[in-house]
């Protein structure tokens, strides 16, 4: 196909590089420097998509990121598919494959247009009023139908082959937008030596200058660009959209790195998310032209006047050969003049104003262009492309007076409803807006952060003004090129252009993508939606993927008109981040897979892996759960490990336990306040088990703390609780007791911790230790400095198995070698290495609790049968007052008990509920639940722990555990210790 609408010369495209691409399977060519939209328009193709609700044929109305209509599915066939991508910002590359969306079977023949025919039945928010009968149909018929019809493109179904990067940056000044104002700001600040970041979503610097014919500023643009590039402390980022403006001048920007190349080398990331902390921000984000709301304003070929100029100057593309211009202001006259100069024949300029005056109007008249003043377009015709427009005269009262003869033939309608300063980011940063009557638009008013607006973004619509405001915002002191701006006359807003066409067919769109018409806004207001936020939600105006960039002010104004209120009284809707949709992958960056949440591994992890351990996730740790021998399943391995520990001895990696080094002259006093038991007398060399409560009296964490010196303690916590406990201690020390001198350091990762446990533990360990570890030298609940396998460390006599146990701590780096030495030496006594599952069983056999398993944040020490650990004498400790509350002393609280199933082989499921009755009735009163349950080969039967209402008084009673299959298991209540009830073994 030939590029029928491409001019022979001009534009910022590279004609030496032809680029082939496909659209809906058809092959086209364009040039490097084109966008998908400009290349299709060069072929005379306007029809690029279908609207959301009515499936109306649509073409692009804009040339930038504000485009609501021309949404495309990109798909390279290898997992790179991107729905809803704006054709106006897709830079062309060879082999690009684009598909239109939301149509079936094809863009030209889409059966969805039936919705358009029935559109009278689908006014705004119709779905709230119907689909309620018959009731069951909502779920089975209506909703599936609505869902299938909704949505635009297709979500990817394959894993994303690309990767994404993050960059954190700081700067003195962040300039957003590289038009005249932004460039001047960046240059002024850059010359002064400050760290400057300049971002622009375009592929080149220049902003609005790129959309113009070679102008007087072309040379300046080139100079400034090269000067900025040469300044080390200035970072210039093109293809980078400032996406969000958060608090404290924290902003994010999305840089597109490979999207425009189509090349995937696997090395460069696809996109990079910049997270910028800026001293000051200059927003030079320009202005966005408004559409006019008139009947038939969505027909392909109808577009913003400025977009037509951009296609002409930047891409050398004529969007039509007989343009009709429809405007309420002077700026669109430029489009008429330029299109005329490019050789098209202007059908007419239709100007709402009755008596427009000024240089541009004179120039148009001078060119012989027909101008219909005091007139409006009241309708357009054409199926997939506009081919004529009807015009009528409009009076000062806003009513139509006479229709102008026959419709005018045209192949595009270039509209301009005035300009909105692009205040999205200013508003995201909480800046307040003010309505400017002259511009008939919102402009920045009061900033809430260190930010200034410059140029069109600030409502300054001249180039000279933009340059000087920009320079000033950047710190001033630079010479600016002289530019003369043509003085433009005032605009005359007519927010909803009346139409004389009758029936429901002529639609005047406000939000193009979501198919919201002026009439829909009327319905919303009529139904009492007086807040603009209600109108927005009721009609979905401004909720489409363009977030209302071209439509919001029109919607507001139309609603104000309906309510007979001033526009600012109706308010402005909130602009929410991001400015344009932002790829999930880019937000996440490298935080995927293994890096999603860092995996923590113990110093002995490698050994465990090499020895066949099966791991479980506990917090972000990987812990060895069991060590199966060939042919063993978990059950088999755990039973073997359990028996071996009690028969001879076992070794377990306990390095994940939280360890906090506590120092300071008040360390002891501090411990005394956070634990429930007494700590004032614990001597150096001794350890003690402690229970921590939250201030509400419920168990929070537990662990053994050793006294290293009078002012120095080594605390251990549960694995998962470690960060929480440290934060809690810091919180208490910094906010509650700042008078106490005490310091906390997490040393979890400094120490490798291994527990050797069992009747032969000492025999295995002693030869490796230089010091005496006999019971006399190192009794239960004592610790000592020791050299183990040549490594200096600490040995604690503490036990979580009920057997004689030594907890060896050595510096992490030596962990594996000491571990291997113990394993090697253990061979004499058939030492077995065991994991967390066996640890769980062994401690349950002894009735030791696991915080987080037996407790769930509603258990007191008394519930757990641990009255002994709560000091009655201490004047206070955290949780003491909480424990005083009546309900925490009630007799019918859930209490920890043991349960034995009548059938010794039956292992209850953890989480199963306990009932008093064996007759299931729904709802059924429940009196407790199983917290731990295992097959215990040491006991020769299954055992379970449970929290049961009033359980301490139920010893010997039969209770019931209903199963999910409807059966009921009988259980007997017992004490919580199942093995070595006298507790003799631990001291051995």
């Amino acid at each position: 196909m030939t590029q029928s609408h491409r001019l022979a010369s001009g534009g910022r495209i590279d004609r030496s590089k032809a680029v082939r691409f496909t659209f809906d399977g058809h092959s086209f060519d364009g040039f490097a420097g084109d966008t998908l939209a400009s290349a299709l328009l060069a072929h005379g193709v306007h029809l690029m998509g279908r609207s959301f609700k009515y499936h109306r044929p649509r073409g692009p109305i804009a040339a930038g990121s504000e485009e609501p209509n021309a949404l495309i599915q990109l798909d390279d066939g290898n997992g790179r598919t991107d729905p809803n991508t704006r054709a106006t910002v897709i830079e062309l590359f060879a082999g690009l494959r684009a598909e239109s969306q939301n149509r079936w079977p094809s863009l030209e023949r889409d059966v969805g247009v039936i919705n358009d025919l029935f559109s009278p039945m689908f006014p705004a928010a119709f779905y709230y009023k119907t689909f309620m009968w018959p009731k069951s149909w909502w779920e089975s018929v209506y909703e599936p139908f609505i869902r299938a019809a909704a949505g635009l493109g297709h979500a990817p179904t394959m894993a994303d082959p690309d990767r994404y990067a993050h960059r954190h940056a700081h700067c003195d000044l962040l300039v957003v937008g590289a038009g005249p104002a932004g460039l001047a700001a960046a240059l002024a600040a850059g010359r002064k030596g400050g760290r400057v970041i300049l971002v622009d979503e375009n592929n080149a610097l220049g902003g609005s200058l790129l959309n113009d014919a070679d102008g007087p500023l072309e040379a300046w643009l080139a100079e400034v660009s090269s000067e900025l590039a040469g300044l080390d402390h200035v970072t210039v980022l093109t293809r980078t959209t400032l996406t969000a403006y958060y608090d404290h001048n924290y902003l994010t920007a999305l840089e597109r790195i490979t999207d425009h190349t189509g090349l995937v080398d696997g090395k460069s990331p696809r996109q990079r998310l910049w997270r910028i902390r800026a001293g000051r921000v200059v927003l030079a984000t320009g202005a966005i032209e408004r559409t006019l709301v008139f009947a038939g304003n969505d027909r392909p070929g109808v577009m913003l006047a400025s977009a037509a100029r951009t296609y002409l100057h930047r891409y050398a593309v004529l969007v039509g050969r007989t343009p009709l211009i429809f405007t309420n202001n002077d700026s669109a006259y430029r489009a008429a003049l330029d299109m005329r100069a490019a050789g098209t024949s202007i059908a007419a300029i239709v100007d709402i104003r009755s008596n427009p005056q000024g240089a541009l109007i004179d120039a148009a008249r001078g060119d012989g262009i027909r101008i219909h003043t005091g007139s409006v377009v009241v309708g357009t015709d054409g199926r997939h492309r506009v081919h004529q427009a009807s015009i009528a005269r409009i009076g000062a009262d806003g009513r139509l007076s006479e229709t102008l003869g026959r419709p005018l033939a045209c192949d595009c309608v270039l509209m301009s409803g005035g300009w909105n300063p692009n205040v999205s980011l200013f508003s995201q940063g909480r800046g307040r807006l003010r309505f400017d009557d002259a511009l008939a638009a919102f402009v920045p008013d009061r900033a809430m952060q260190a930010v200034e607006c410059a140029g069109a973004c600030a409502g300054t619509m001249t180039t000279a003004g933009a340059l000087s405001e920009g320079a000033e915002a950047g710190g001033g002191g630079i010479d600016l090129p002289a530019v003369e701006d043509i003085v433009e006359g005032p605009l005359q807003p007519v927010w909803a252009v009346p139409s004389d066409r009758t029936g429901s067919r002529p639609k005047a769109f406000v939000d193009f993508q979501n198919d919201v018409t002026a009439k829909d806004l009327g319905i919303a207001v009529r139904e009492g939606m007086v807040s603009i936020e209600h109108v927005k939600r009721f009609t979905t105006t401004g909720m489409a993927t363009d977030q209302g960039k071209t439509s919001n002010v029109n919607a507001l104004a139309i609603v104000a008109g309906q309510l007979d209120a001033a526009i600012p009284a109706v308010g402005t809707t909130t602009f929410r981040p991001p400015y344009t949709p932002q790829t999930f992958g880019a937000i996440v960056g490298s935080g995927r897979g293994r890096l999603f949440d860092p995996v923590r591994k113990t110093p002995m992890h490698g050994w465990a892996e090499a020895n066949g351990a099966v791991f479980e996730d506990v917090g972000n740790w990987k812990r060895a759960r069991y060590f199966p021998r060939p042919g063993e399943d978990m059950h088999g391995a755990v039973q073997r490990e359990c028996m071996q520990v009690r028969e001879t001895c076992g070794l377990m990696d306990a390095s994940t336990l939280g360890k906090i080094d506590i120092q300071g002259k008040d360390a002891r006093e501090f411990l005394n306040r956070v634990y429930t038991n007494a700590w004032m007398k614990l001597a150096p060399g001794k350890c003690r088990y402690g229970l921590m409560l939250r201030d509400d009296g419920f168990v929070f964490d537990d662990g053994v703390t050793a006294c290293i010196a009078d002012d120095h303690f080594h605390m251990t916590t549960t694995t998962g609780g470690a960060p929480r406990v440290l934060a809690w201690l810091e919180d208490l020390s910094q906010t509650e007791w700042p008078d106490l001198e005490v310091y906390f350091t997490s040393v979890t990762e400094q120490w490798a911790t291994m527990t050797i446990s069992g009747p032969n533990a000492r025999e295995v360990l002693a030869p490796l230790v230089s010091e005496d570890i006999s019971t006399d030298a190192l009794p239960h609940m004592a610790w000592m400095e020791a050299t183990v396998a040549g490594v200096k460390g600490r040995i604690f006599r503490i036990s979580f198995t009920g057997e004689v146990s030594f907890e060896v701590n050595v510096p992490a780096g030596y962990g594996q070698s000491v571990w291997e030495a113990i394993v090697e030496r253990g061979k004499v006594r058939e030492l077995c290495v065991y994991g967390t599952e066996t640890m769980h069983v062994l401690r349950a056999e002894k009735g030791y609790i696991i915080v987080g398993q037996e407790t769930d944040g509603t258990a007191t020490p008394f519930d757990l049968g641990m009255d002994w650990i709560v000091s009655a004498k201490k004047p206070d400790f955290i949780g003491k007052r909480g424990l005083e509350r009546p309900d925490l002393k009630a007799a019918d609280r859930k209490q920890l008990v043991g349960l034995l199933t009548k059938d010794p082989d039956m292992v209850l499921e953890e989480g199963a509920q306990v009932t008093a009755s064996d007759r299931i009735t729904i709802p059924m009163p429940m009196i407790g639940h199983v917290t731990s349950s295992y097959m215990s080969s040491n006991c020769g039967r299954s055992i379970a722990l449970a929290m049961v209402r009033g359980g301490h008084a139920l010893n010997g009673r039969t209770l019931h555990v209903p199963q999910l299959d409807g059966s009921v298991v009988d259980v007997t209540v017992t004490g919580t210790v199942f093995f070595d009830i006298e507790g003799a073994r631990i001291h051995g």
Partner: protein, 416 residues
């Protein structure tokens, strides 16, 4: 009230939709009412509706400082489920689910309750224990909840990644089939329209600035539009509850945190249900419009500003991509935050207060949308009769003094 139906739409189509009536009036506040409700969110509007409908109290007003549903009601991710652990919660939330099931018909307003199933993922041994405990308890309470293997979970939600070598592999899931979503705006608007039709004055842009007491009883409220006398005042102000209750001199056991959510651009149906994961911290569903609706966790710091930190969004999306790597190229269209009021036991307060005639409905935290009809229904009972409905009776303010907590957060516990 003008009835809505396909027929009424057709009839109005003939007149170009010019004859729709206002869904609710916009009355001037009267100097006195039998009761006023502070807060025009779903819970407040629903309370007014049931007060009028079931208790014949029609000389009442809802006072909203902004626009109806503009608080958390209009900001939430609309997940509905009732598979809570404790009997008290299960009863309350299940009462709500039962009302959800008939709400569109009750209000003659399509609230789009869509029971597409809520699936909660278990990622470690501890999660499995916790979910099993819920399932056992729910079954005996008559609340549906079932255990799925990873393969069954994948079959229920095809985009789910169940690779065993994932950072946090899916070890199974708890599925409540009656769980799902509803349309948040429709809930506020449907209740508003229903209440208005019964004579309730719904007054927007009317911030309450003070609560007047006479000794230990309430007598009225100061508002931006003047003083309004009322012997009964119901406070339903979500994230602002502490501020409003302060006006009556009542200190609340609440902390207010920003909670954020986001949506993607709309796409054709890809996501059939609701998936939640507490361990990796994310939840997701797809709206009828086609947007993926994604919820994040609360910020760590208390705040009244309806904005949260970007790192929370980042972490949430990390979690989403961990579970659904295919969504990596999807794009975030919009993000926002609301302020949620959190109690120490993460269960709501639906109760009388130490001030006579003053009632409070708050503490829904991150999850009160699902309860809207049930909360409103029982709260209306509490206000009308000056005593709680049996279902909300346990949700007192007193429980934080007595220790009789309903600790759903503890029930979900934490990894050991």
């Amino acid at each position: 009230m003008q009835r809505y139906s396909i027929v009424s739409i057709a009839r109005n189509a003939l007149t170009g939709h010019r004859n729709w009536q206002r869904a609710w009036r916009s009355p001037e506040p009267k100097p006195s009412y039998d009761a006023v409700i502070i807060g025009g969110g779903g819970h407040g509007l629903g309370t007014a509706y049931y007060l009028a409908k079931e208790h014949g109290l029609t000389n009442i007003a809802v006072l909203e400082k902004g626009w109806l549903g503009g608080g958390n009601t209009g900001r939430n991710t609309t997940i509905i489920r009732s598979n809570y652990l404790y009997d008290e919660s299960a009863a309350l939330y299940d009462h709500a689910v039962k009302l959800w099931e008939g709400l569109s018909q009750e209000l003659n307003y399509n609230t789009m309750y869509s029971p597409r199933g809520v699936m909660m993922l278990a990622h470690n041994v501890h999660d499995v224990q916790v979910f099993k405990r819920h399932i056992y308890a729910n079954r005996l309470n008559g609340v549906d909840n079932e255990w799925l293997t990873p393969e069954q979970a994948k079959a229920y939600c095809p985009p789910l990644d169940i690779r065993r070598d994932a950072r946090y592999p899916v070890m199974g899931a708890a599925l409540q089939r009656r769980g799902g979503t509803a349309r948040h705006d429709a809930v506020a608007w449907g209740y508003a329209r229903g209440a208005d039709a019964l004579g309730v004055d719904i007054i927007q842009n009317c911030e309450v600035t003070g609560i007047r007491r006479d000794g230990d009883k309430v007598i009225g409220v100061e508002t931006m539009r003047g003083y309004i006398q009322a012997p009964k005042v119901g406070v339903v102000a979500a994230g602002n509850t502490t501020v409003v209750m302060d006006m009556a001199g009542v200190r609340m056991p609440l902390e207010s945190y920003p909670l954020q959510a986001l949506v993607s651009e709309p796409v054709k149906p890809v996501f059939p249900c609701v998936v939640m994961s507490n361990t990796v911290h994310a939840y997701i569903s797809q709206s009828d419009k086609g947007e993926l609706v994604i919820g994040a966790g609360t910020d760590q710091f208390t705040s009244y500003s309806q904005r949260g930190g970007f790192h929370i969004i980042e972490h949430t999306l990390e979690a989403i991509l961990e579970l659904f790597p295919v969504f990596s190229r999807m794009r975030m269209l919009r993000q926002w935050g609301g302020i949620v009021d959190v109690t120490p036991d993460r269960s709501p307060i639906l109760a009388k207060t130490p001030v006579r005639g003053l009632y409070v409905n708050c503490g829904w935290g991150t999850g009160g949308f699902k309860a809207t009809p049930g909360s409103a229904h029982t709260f209306a009972h509490t206000i009308a009769r000056d005593e709680p409905h049996p279902i909300n009776a346990p949700f007192t303010l007193e429980r934080f003094r007595t220790g009789r907590l309903i600790d759903e957060a503890a029930a979900a516990a934490v990894a050991h």
